[in-house]
């Protein structure tokens, strides 16, 4: 595994490096690529990003540690982040978050034994009018009237089936939300 010399990422890496007058600015987009390759931001990824951006590994590590979207430990295949901030909590997000952890049989921030799901709560995700809502691998999961446990059970079952089924389900809910927006 590697990002340097990996054909899969070559074009994207070059594009990011070309965007800025200073290579250091590419550290954030390249950390995302490292996370994509290794599943989390590990020492190998940090060393490669440091080499690409002409930085010290320590500097790159400090950037990875400062921002919450870089994971410093391995995650499940699906990273579920439930917003439990004020606007979502007013519409039952705290309970939804707890029920989700219970359903998956994990503690806050934990990963299921089969390595499928990691779940945790996060701060405001800018989806307050569709509360409660969550993010799955950085893609918004929202439904008209807000997510319920019924939605989440459907989501878990779809993901356990295969990724295509899951993406189809999320897209279906998104289409319903978009339709509502266009008609508003």
């Amino acid at each position: 595994m590697a990002i340097i010399g990996n054909k899969k990422y070559q074009e994207r890496i070059n594009e990011h490096l070309a965007k800025y007058p200073d290579k250091r600015s590419a550290v954030m987009p390249l950390l995302y690529i490292a996370q994509e390759e290794y599943g989390w931001v590990n020492d190998e990824g940090i060393a490669e990003v440091a080499q690409l951006c002409d930085m010290d590994a320590t500097q790159v590590k400090s950037i990875a540690g400062f921002y919450t979207m870089y994971s410093e430990k391995p995650k499940g295949k699906y990273w579920l982040q439930v917003c439990t901030d004020l606007a979502c909590a007013l519409r039952g997000a705290d309970e939804l978050h707890h029920e989700l952890l219970h359903e998956l049989g994990i503690e806050e921030g934990g990963t299921t034994e089969d390595g499928m799901f990691t779940a945790e709560h996060v701060m405001c995700l800018a989806g307050c009018d569709r509360a409660p809502m969550l993010q799955c691998n950085f893609h918004f999961v929202e439904a008209v009237g807000g997510l319920t446990m019924a939605h989440l059970r459907e989501l878990i079952a779809a993901a356990r089936q295969d990724d295509k089924t899951l993406q189809k389900l999320i897209a279906k809910w998104r289409d319903e939300v978009n339709k509502q927006v266009q008609q508003s």
Partner: protein, 436 residues
């Protein structure tokens, strides 16, 4: 605003899909840019100045004035759009980018031309992963029609636009922290002066303008219809329309575009349908997300216009217009706790009053929430909060102090019911139930 209903969500009036470049161009799209490119940069700045457009990120600073601070003689300048939208209860910039992306990109080009920048960055919060991809696709569509890159619309003006994703840090919405983050450094605020507009203060040390998404999305309309038409909408000190984000206990939460002259009642009762649960009534309102002062949602507030000057009169701000509505089932102590936890999590750790203060506020409120607090704790949190406000490098220290100071001031009984009196155990905070 008799005929103009929407400026930022124009697609609603003409019933078109503005996510498609052809549709957008059919309905005045890029007319503002054409007008701008035919004028001198300083003339464009004058139009924006005269329109009365103020920054929609929260501070309300006059946009044209901000642009005029950029020194002309400097060869390199940058234009940066702040799409970090992370304030609790804010989801308006997301809607602009999702439904009207070209209007933002057009406004960006007009701004960049006005200040003489040839490179522009859009800094998006990391969670806007899909939106960044959509904007990248829009920029490529524009390139095919000569609307970005070299010699835009044959004018001889060049400009490149790039998107940059953050990675989950509220502080990066603060403009100097945003610039640090864009430079590949920790997203922490810088010491000012120099300000971003000054040499040495902006991106890579070059003069830089940082504007919010909603601010910039107003600019094409202003160029097309003129400063006077824009000024005619809204109130004397708050020109134009605003996207109001409504969340919490109303029947129809969402983003609504209204002139600044509209009242809270028109929005929360007439449009959003009043309290979401039958039999409940409004109790409190956070008009500007977690960071603005909370107010009781009474008749006086409901009859106030949602402008910069009118909200100041009732002791709060309109800021980013992120209205979080709470009904009478909510204990405001819990609200203070939620908001304080947000700021504790988001404090970047650079300034001691904010880093330590948010930690202590959270600890003491948790104690009160558990029914373990004393009346002295209320004085203690007021003292801690007062020692955070106004003495940090950025406004987050003050934002973090606001919820406590104002919740205790406006809803003292909510706090007092939880503190011990004469050694008797107090009542812990009941949390709102699902579906409330």
């Amino acid at each position: 605003m008799s005929e103009t209903k929407h400026i930022l969500l124009r697609w609603k009036d003409v019933k078109a899909d503005f996510r498609k470049l052809a549709e957008y161009r059919k309905h005045e799209g890029f007319e503002g840019l054409k007008k701008a490119l035919a004028a001198k940069p300083e003339e464009v700045i004058d139009v924006v100045k005269n329109s009365g457009l103020r920054g929609r990120g929260g501070a309300g600073f006059p946009t044209g004035v901000k642009w005029s601070f950029i020194p002309k003689q400097e060869p390199i300048k940058y234009f940066v759009v702040n799409a970090d939208e992370s304030e609790t209860g804010t989801f308006k910039d997301r809607l602009i980018m999702e439904t009207n992306p070209y209007q933002l990109l057009e406004g960006l080009l007009i701004g960049a031309y006005a200040i003489g920048a040839h490179t522009a960055y859009i800094y998006l919060r990391g969670e806007f992963w899909d939106i960044a991809a959509q904007l990248d696709a829009c920029i490529e569509e524009m390139r095919k029609e000569g609307l970005v890159g070299k010699n835009i619309l044959g004018s001889g003006y060049d400009c490149e636009i790039y998107t940059h994703l953050g990675a989950g840090a509220y502080i990066c919405g603060e403009e100097t922290a945003l610039l640090n983050s864009l430079e590949g450094k920790l997203g922490q605020p810088r010491v000012r002066p120099p300000f971003p507009a000054n040499k040495g203060g902006g991106l890579y040390g070059e003069p830089t303008v940082v504007n919010n998404v909603e601010t910039i999305a107003n600019v094409p309309w202003i160029m097309t219809h003129g400063a006077d038409a824009y000024k005619a909408i809204g109130t004397e000190q708050s020109a134009g329309t605003k996207l109001y984000c409504v969340s919490g206990h109303v029947k129809k939460p969402g983003v609504y575009e209204l002139p600044f002259s509209a009242t809270f009642r028109e929005l929360l009762v007439d449009i959003c349908g009043g309290p979401s649960v039958e039999g409940r009534s409004f109790k409190a309102l956070l008009p500007s997300g977690g960071s603005g002062p909370i107010v009781p949602l009474n008749d006086k507030v409901l009859d106030t216009r949602m402008s910069y000057e009118d909200t100041a009169k009732i002791g709060t701000i309109i800021g980013s217009a992120s209205l979080i509505v709470m009904d009478d089932s909510v204990d405001i102590t819990w609200v203070a706790s939620k908001v304080t936890k947000f700021f504790k999590h988001e404090s970047c750790g650079k300034c001691t009053p904010c880093r330590e203060g948010t930690y202590w506020l959270d600890k003491v409120i948790d104690r009160i929430m558990a029914g373990e607090g004393s009346e002295r704790d209320i004085t203690l949190i007021e003292n801690v909060a007062k020692n955070m406000a106004g003495i940090t490098l950025c406004a987050l220290g003050e934002f973090a102090a606001n919820p406590i100071i104002h919740t205790i001031k406006q809803f003292p009984d909510d706090f007092k019911q939880h503190v011990k009196k004469d050694g008797k155990a107090a009542k812990p905070v009941a949390l709102p139930a699902a579906g409330d």
